[in-house]
Symmetry: D2
Subunit: 147 residues, 4 copies
Amino acid sequence: MKASRLRQSFEQQAFLKTLGARLTRVTRGKVAIRIEVASPITQQHGFVHAGVVSALADTAAGYAAMTLLADHAEVVTAEFKINFLKPALGKALVAEAQVIRSGRTLSVSRAEVFTVTGSARSHVATLLATIAHLPGPGETAKGRVRT
Amino acid sequence: MKASRLRQSFEQQAFLKTLGARLTRVTRGKVAIRIEVASPITQQHGFVHAGVVSALADTAAGYAAMTLLADHAEVVTAEFKINFLKPALGKALVAEAQVIRSGRTLSVSRAEVFTVTGSARSHVATLLATIAHLPGPGETAKGRVRT
Amino acid sequence: MKASRLRQSFEQQAFLKTLGARLTRVTRGKVAIRIEVASPITQQHGFVHAGVVSALADTAAGYAAMTLLADHAEVVTAEFKINFLKPALGKALVAEAQVIRSGRTLSVSRAEVFTVTGSARSHVATLLATIAHLPGPGETAKGRVRT
Amino acid sequence: MKASRLRQSFEQQAFLKTLGARLTRVTRGKVAIRIEVASPITQQHGFVHAGVVSALADTAAGYAAMTLLADHAEVVTAEFKINFLKPALGKALVAEAQVIRSGRTLSVSRAEVFTVTGSARSHVATLLATIAHLPGPGETAKGRVRT
């Protein structure tokens, strides 16, 4: 999938816009997303809410899968699991995702979430996701069907 | 934990307020949270973003665990796994959580997420979470330390 | 899928035979498997090894999914997550699985594992699995393709 | 924890012995376990049963966590999630685990499982686990309590 096509999809996500998320890297099999931390996304202890950490990691994992699919393909997260390693306290939150396995109908991606404050990075969460491919009619997510 | 103490904790969560989430049930071992669906929380296909579905389910799972702990206890999600069963399309989103196991230092909770439109309910996600208890000094999350 | 067809598949699993597992219930969307506990499946503290608990729960989850598919369908576990609630100490181990969602290409099943000693049951683990359907050629796992 | 102490614990696991598992690496934060593939651990398609793949990965993840704990510490898997990437077909199965986070009461470990046939390795599964520390009396799993 072309990076421009992927960025177009990203722009249509209202929830990510609400959070102020930006795509900061798109290469084959890898995607990074960044969000500046502000009070609306914190929880009762002042840390970034686990829901935001998860949303960022899941989104990065899904877009990483898309980078290896055909231009018309859509993806949907079938499931994910996330471990929270430390409280997410920092100026910005960065999710870096990579594809572990890109199959015919499913991809498996991993995402690591870091908080960033100046030059300091802290590993705050790790996510493992299964992503289902949604091909258009007469096509597979991996490319046009041979006829 | 008293329901009033739990509601107080809920009110301090800026991210949940941003989403418009409301606690609609608090009983021993069970919590329900509801959110009215509006455009800022949708993704590129018009459905509620998976990140919001996860945040709601995770929050319900954590508060369900708190209902069985001492008043001073805090909890933090160690990890969760969520399966998305159907696209979340509806007027409201409801997460219903219950505790499966309330141990000394960890709880395990499950949450089911439904979309609600009029009288129709659709099961859109299921979450399984491990919640760590954070006791105050000289105490356990299950109650005051015997001396 | 006919129960006889499913039992035939079960009989071909060498690992399950090694463990002495038996299918004790097969109905639409639900399967139970039982195993008598003996020393070869215990771990260093004398409990049933988590690997056996997982294998039993995963197997039950997969067969539960099969009960709702066409006779020719095969399934493969895409992923699962399991929480261990208590040490598995008992005379027998029973896994009870049910389908939560049976889609076109994926099923989601849940399994609960209990130890049984006389009339006492103890809930020792809960599993949530994503199961991929493997249809034969020119068919879908849900039935023959309409032409 | 001393490697000799860890190997002693490994030797007491009857289920692992039944499978023929061997510890092939023990360093700080990393453990590898290997098993030669034979028919008793295969499933109905001739591949290694997912339950064996999981058991191997989970065991490696737990022992990796132990390498960073005090000599007297015991661990128990609170939960794990595993994604199966490819059918496990090969002469041997190797699980390589590393600790991602070693906290006060919980560790998070990741394990990758490979099949090995001659010089060919194939990545067949990835596991992410939460491991609870079980300290002895008057101690923490991270070392003796300061008094």
